[in-house]
Subunit: 361 residues, 2 copies
């Protein structure tokens, strides 16, 4: 594979397409997809990538062709897009509130795909069971992120009650989202592994041996978990990577498959201004981020402020580019950047639709 980021700028940077736009390097993407598939095989665990990152049928097809057992999604509407696109094994990793409308949609989905959904309360499980009798579920476990999920030791009791309400309990899952911070990775990976093991034991105690024990964010997959008993990994961001993962050390610049191609529109003393703002990059900025995204070819530059259509870049160490120049900007959080775009431009000659853009319900 040729160097995807030759010095002096890739073809995307000099193209004539109106900026800003999101560009995907197909070679880098293919490498990321293959590497994660190989890692899952080497650990003898199933890979079920989270499609919320890319929302593209084409990327999902690459992942499944490389050996993924199915896809993870966040919403019923994402599941609808991917089922329509021919993906037959979907997990909605979310404790859905299933009212009559969502119930009807889930029943319709089940005619085209195997659909498993998350539960984290008996109230939610009963609402689901009333609408979709026999629905397959995984119990969500809180392994330290403190968002949704029950404590590991309570997983068995919820699983048993859910089974009594008529659901098919297939196992447990967790999302260790607190891994997205510096210096905590080993600890979070251990918490994830330990919490899943305890949750699985809790199901065993209630006579419901788990078939699926599912974990894995992009950072913790890299750090582990190597633990016995984990059967499935659900990383998402790894396909494209982003500035957060770059700054956390979970990826490297040459493995970043997506960037925003932007134009320098102004140059003032000490700063340049790009035409990419929060309406194309997203406004995500973690407390530990060094800026509002990173410039792929200028690692010393910092995006010090971001408006809807302006990125202000402090440009101290290297000669600042001329107005009209194009640069490649890596979004802080690629999942939110992709969700702002209707399409991704691939190798500057192909367009992939962001088919599940805005699919929030």
């Amino acid at each position: 594979m040729p160097d995807p980021h030759p010095s002096g700028g890739a073809p995307s940077v000099v193209g004539a397409r109106p900026t800003p736009y999101l560009h995907v390097d197909a070679g880098v993407l293919a490498g990321n997809v293959a590497a994660m598939a190989a890692l899952a095989r080497s650990r003898r665990v199933a890979l079920r990538p989270h499609a919320k990152t890319h929302k593209c049928l084409e990327v999902a097809r690459l992942q499944v062709d490389a050996g993924a057992v199915g896809l993870t999604v966040a919403t019923v509407s994402e599941a609808e897009v991917f089922a329509e696109g021919g993906f037959a094994d979907l997990f909605v990793a979310y404790p859905l509130w299933v009212d009559a409308g969502r119930g009807a949609r889930l029943r319709a989905l089940r005619e085209h795909a195997s659909v498993t959904v998350g539960i984290d309360s008996l109230t939610g499980a009963r609402a689901l069971a009333a609408q979709v009798p026999g629905a397959a579920v995984l119990v969500e476990v809180d392994t330290g992120h403190h968002r949704t999920g029950v404590p590991p030791e309570e997983a068995g009791a919820l699983a048993e009650a859910a089974a009594r309400s008529g659901l098919e309990v297939r196992g447990v899952f967790t999302f260790p989202g607190h891994s997205y911070a510096p210096g905590v990775l080993e600890q979070v990976a251990r918490q994830e592994e330990d919490g899943l093991r305890r949750a699985a034991a809790s199901l065993d105690l209630h006579g419901l041996a788990p078939v699926v024990v599912s974990g894995g964010s992009t950072p913790t997959v890299a750090a582990g978990p190597e633990g016995d008993g984990i059967t499935e990994l659900r990383p998402g961001v790894y396909a494209f990577g982003d500035a957060q993962q770059w700054e956390l050390g979970s990826t490297t610049p040459e493995r970043l498959a997506l960037c925003c191609v932007a134009t320098v529109v102004a140059r003032h003393p000490g700063r340049v201004v790009l035409d990419c703002g929060s309406k194309v990059l997203g406004a995500d900025r973690a407390a530990w981020s060094t800026g509002h995204g990173r410039l792929l070819d200028h690692p010393d530059a910092r995006i010090t402020s971001l408006s809807e259509h302006h990125a202000v870049v402090e440009w101290d160490r290297s000669p600042a580019p001329e107005p009209g120049s194009r640069v490649r900007v890596v979004p802080n959080h690629v999942c939110n950047a992709v969700n702002l775009a209707d399409e991704l431009v691939v190798d500057d000659d192909t367009v992939w639709s962001v088919a599940a853009r805005g699919a929030n319900t």
Copy 2:
């Protein structure tokens, strides 16, 4: 007008539409539009609302029907949407980099609408003049936000050079974006007024008396400027309002016209989780914000963390709502929330298309 926010929840909160979705209260919106139009009339200045906030033809029509002289937009693609929608007087408040492609689009636009664009450099002005001879421009002035724009005293020299390159220089504009912070409003409004006055004087010195002297963010319009010489105001957020303006004191809860209707999906000790995350609210959070958005009917609650599809709400003082309940969430920054939605639901019975969603080029 009836109380738009009766205690116990408006009809939107109990509707059956799948959550999360953005809801507009048409009565509140109409009140905001009328109030700003009246304020501009009372000051004898033109009102040119920024359409990037709503991106909706229907809202733009309300604004123009109430007396707005035209619209402000941020990009050529926004201008294309509103020109196609019948709006004939557009100002692109941005120092566009006009290459051949953007030049062709601007020339096509000029057949349907009067289009003025911003300039903040001679390089940019010459690129524009080469593509669109005779284009009408305003010189952007930096009155303290330090994003784009030239210092006020340099406006005249740039204006004269731009005129020599064949552009029609109509005046000056500024955006006092540094008004979006607590405790600075009076100072920023004075900077804006003073900077515009000095920029206008600079044009006078160069023999180019400005026809347009344009300013105004939503916060500074409320605080002023009352100064002589300002001919036009360009507020955007005022149409809907948002949690940032609420927390800054530039609006009040009863004047918030847009919210996200969300469902409680989980309740754990000390917190509830809503199904609205950064993919519907946007990830904007200023350093001074108290959280990632506000709950309209529960001002004591705080959204302490936000993922793509989860809002974690600390709920200390009042009884937390049951899973399945619906609540109204006010985004921190309404412009970015609207840009994530394909449509806005109006009074729970009408749908407006976000016609310029994603129009970033």
